[in-house]
């Protein structure tokens, strides 16, 4: 039972990271109907930028652990948002009127480019996050000791997801995003600058993905230039699981996938952990392509 609850909290933490990345996929898909393959690499860039900013500015030394990490997270989110905007401008915007599959190839190319760019700048080896950033302690939850970082990751992700949800649902700009997702042409007729909405989506998604990268660095302590690919695929699985294009769906799908994976690693086999996620992806696409909460992905004939 102890192991079950430990795996459950671990699954919740990892799942909330998946959910944050999945939001980026789902928002871009919602507006552009494009799978942004480069999104996983924006996540990697977040992790690496987090490390660079952390070691060069020593924020936690000046501001204390919690405020320092919060400021760090905001800086990383801002920087990754800029990269996301640049990506849209250079790789996707020239292809707005092209066939869908051209944009998919462009996205793949951008992904390969960013991943290898990170490798050339930072090197191919694993990079290690400093170990003393957040206090290493476990919190007693109903007689169960859970590491503090696990709870922080979960809380921070939930706060960001709720903020995003409220932003999309309650503000004027959020309404514009929803309108553009439903019908771009009609949105344009209503005076919405769709290109600016897309740019905004390409900043919001990567900002969350970059924050997720920072969390992975803090949670696992080491990062690698290829990790965005695996996290990206899993987050994409999470987005499909919840129903792509659907923001609450991405959150539910992420958390669910995290738990499935943690349980699978604990009770089936750790060596097959990554394969379990892909099995989930294939099964969901075969059995219920709409995901748990919506969107149709099979070809209409």
């Amino acid at each position: 039972m102890e192991q079950f609850f430990q795996q459950l909290t671990n699954g919740l933490a990892v799942g909330s990271i998946y959910a944050l990345i999945a939001l980026g996929y789902t928002m871009v898909y919602g507006v552009l109907k494009l799978i942004n393959f480069a999104h996983g690499d924006l996540f990697t860039i977040g992790a690496y930028l987090g490390l660079t900013v952390l070691t060069s500015l020593a924020l936690t030394g000046h501001l204390g652990p919690f405020l320092g990490v919060s400021v760090l997270a905001l800086m990383v989110m801002g920087l990754v948002a800029l990269v996301g905007a640049l990506l849209d401008r250079l790789a996707y915007r020239p292809l707005r009127e092209s066939p869908r599959l051209s944009a998919v190839v462009s996205a793949l190319g951008a992904s390969i480019f960013l991943q290898n760019g990170v490798m050339l700048i930072y090197g191919a080896r694993f990079q290690v996050y400093p170990q003393d950033i957040l206090p290493k302690m476990a919190i007693n939850l109903f007689g169960l000791y859970v590491p503090l970082i696990r709870i922080l990751v979960l809380v921070a992700s939930v706060v960001m997801m709720v903020a995003l949800y409220l932003f999309i649902q309650k503000t004027r700009i959020g309404t514009a995003i929803r309108a553009a997702a439903i019908d771009q042409g009609a949105a344009r007729l209503m005076g919405i600058d769709v290109n600016r909405v897309i740019l905004l989506v390409f900043m919001l998604g990567p900002a969350l993905g970059g924050a997720a990268g920072l969390m992975v660095g803090l949670y696992y302590g080491q990062i690698n230039f290829t990790m965005g690919w695996m996290y990206g695929l899993k987050a994409f699985t999470a987005a499909i699981l919840g129903g792509i294009g659907n923001i609450p769906g991405a959150m539910v799908g992420g958390i669910l996938l995290g738990i499935i994976e943690a349980m699978g690693a604990a009770y089936i086999s750790i060596a097959w952990k990554d394969a379990i996620a892909f099995m989930v992806l294939i099964l969901i696409l075969i059995l219920r392509p709409t995901g748990l909460l919506g969107e149709r992905v099979a070809e209409k004939v």
């Binding site: 190839v105 793949l108 190319g109 480019f113 290898n116 695929l233």
Partner: protein, 318 residues
Amino acid sequence: MAPRNIIYSVVAVILAVLPVFLNAYWVDVLNSIGIYAILALSLNLIVGHAGLFNLGHAAFYAIGAYTAAIMNTQFAIPVLWLLPLCAFTAGLFALLVARPIIHLRGDYLCIVTIGVGEIVRIALINNVFGITGGANGIFGIARPSVVGYVIRTPHQFFYLIWAFAAVTILLFHLLEYSRFGRALNYLREDEVAAEGNGINTAHYKLACFVVGAAWAGMVGNLYAAKMTIISPESFSFWESVLMFVIVILGGSGSIPGVLLGAFLAVGLPELFREFANARMLFFGAAMVAMMIFRTEGILPHQPRAYKLAKFGEGEGGQ
């Protein structure tokens, strides 16, 4: 003879005599180019002709290679005799995997094939059924022999691999202009119209997937015979990406384009070894630029031209 055919013949003759002037290292580079060229041609059938995005082609390649390795080391069957079996296992696997997913929309199919490729690689590392040798792979695969003549050196392999490439080019060229090839091109351009004209699109998509996979399985056999040792790393996602890049950059649907793509993507990094690390960076940027400025690739597919009958003086013609 058309000027194009003259160019192709000259290139073929140059390629055939090239090993005489090159040392073993450069012949081996040409062998790698040959292997990737055949793999990319088989992928071209799926990506270029039918327009199905497959980023898990390395899985079928791996299944062919492992079939050859296991049957050769366990039962001492000569490697080249296993070619049909490799094609069969890879094709059967493709059939089983693709059957339920073939109706998915382009980008989703792409994601699922990535997933399949990863599952196969993880299964190989985890020594599935206890026969794949885990992360170390399988070693001690016997050298192939052709009518009693054992093939050992890179120079000998050159002729084996490129003979296979020549057969592949010929067959795929014929396939391109067959009823089957036309049906694939039709469903790539407009699936609804193709279905409306009585083309069973699901059937054709599946058939082309299986043929492409079976061909990759046979290349796996050649690869196992050439290396005599295979391991899961040789069949990673990046192999699938490289094949995909060759097809897209060279010119999807075009056989000369794919061959040129193989020379550029595999040969150029050997010429500029100091930049070898940056090659994927360059390919990534090239893919984006290509989609923006020249979607159809370096040597695009030339649709077959049919000459019209002449109606009168100065009219008709091309």
